[in-house]
Amino acid sequence: MTTKISPREWEAISAYLDGQLAQKERSRLESRMQSRPELRAALEDMRRTRTILRSQTRLRAPRNFTLTPQMAGVKSRPRSYPALRLASALASVVLVLVLIGDFFSGAPAVIQAPSAAMPQQQAYSKTAAEGAAHDQALETSVAMEAPATTGRNMGAAPALEMTPTPEVSGLMNENALPTQAAAAAAEPLKSTSQVESSQVSGEVASPLPESTLAPQATSLPPATAEALVAQAPLPTATVEILTNQATSQPPALNKATENGSQPATPFIKRSALRTLEIFLALIALSTGLLAFFMRRSANH
């Protein structure tokens, strides 16, 4: 009577055939095979099947399956790909550094500029206010004295002519500029005053306009001012004002000249930085895109 062989028994027989059974299971199977001939028959069938399978002729490959570079995708990238990739990376790094440097160098200058400008602006405004006050005083005194002084002495005309304009009077109250600048500025004033004096003689009654003064004139040299004062009995306040103005330095004008050139330098630097940043960004972007499309076309 043939008993059916269970799948578990078939598995044990198969493993037993290949020597893959543990010792304990091997002994158990051998003992069962002694009492069950179907197990022995099954073992023989399986052994024959394995023999047929193992006897199969080993097929040789019909051709060589070695890979070409195209198959392997090895030399598909152009040689310039690594260089482009490196250039893009370097340009990006330099751009970041320039941006960082621009940020840190630009911020303090921006902060300082207003604060530095503030005192100057305050000084200028203060000076302008003081100048305006002095100017008003001068105009009042000169207007009052004009009819009296013009007829007495020719020298008074230069004094009158030398009435400073509001801007000039404001500038003249600054004390920072050197005397040389004041002397240089006074020279066109002297020549102007000489011209005007010849004109005044024909026009005694009318007050001289303030606009006849040279716009660049800043102050009189002390000696000239004193001489003028001595020639014409001007009011004391006016004399003091003229004297103070003659001795004072017109610093603000030179400062303005200097400051006029300063804003140009930071502006040039800022423009150069912006140009550099744009240039680096364009390089990084273009080389990066080129490398990307090269790699993409190579992979396809």
């Binding site: 799948p7 078939w10 598995e11 027989i13 198969s14 493993a15 290949d18 893959q20 069938d45 399986m46 024959r48 099947t49 394995r50 023999t51 047929i52 399978l53 193992r54 006897s55 199969q56 002729t57 080993r58 097929l59 040789r60 490959a61 019909p62 051709r63 060589n64 399956f65 070695t66 890979l67 570079p69 198959m71 392997a72 995708g73 090895v74």
Partner: protein, 200 residues
Amino acid sequence: MDEVALIQAARGGDLDSFNRLVLAYQDLVYNQAYRMMGEAEVAEDATQEAFISAFRNLGSYRGGSFKAWLLRIVTNACYDELRRRKRHPTTPLEPIDEENEEVESPRWLADPGESPEEAATRAELNQALQHCLEDLPPEFRTIVVLVDVQGLDYGEAAEAVGKPLGTVKSRLARARLRLRDCLRGFWELLPAAFRLVEES
């Protein structure tokens, strides 16, 4: 250069080293593909695809049996083709000669020590066996080819299919049982062939 050095060089992109490995294993890989697919041209395509995939994925090789790793790649390639055929069944084209007869693979006959009668008998046996193999489910077929045709041990076979040892034992036993039943039908037809096998 030994296999480990070749693999290391190939992982570094050395195509020549990899091609030396290809030459060493291409028979093994082609046999696996042919036994699984049953067609020479399909087996060639699967073999080439397997080696291309192997070169590109050398980074995933973590040591162990390189043979089992390669066989896993070709097995998966064959599974993919079988699944594709299942979705889109096609009639396989057999090469026809001038006399309108199917052209047998000459590789079946490549055994210089045999007589023509023995070669013919062996060729018929090969055909019978191939027919029985193709009747097996793919997962059973793979295991029995790996162990009984290619000569891998249980551990390598488990590595090649990515399954536990117990699964390999179970599938192998069931595959052998089915092949026994299938070949029993040819036993009466080709007794000489089987006697030839037992004698050798």
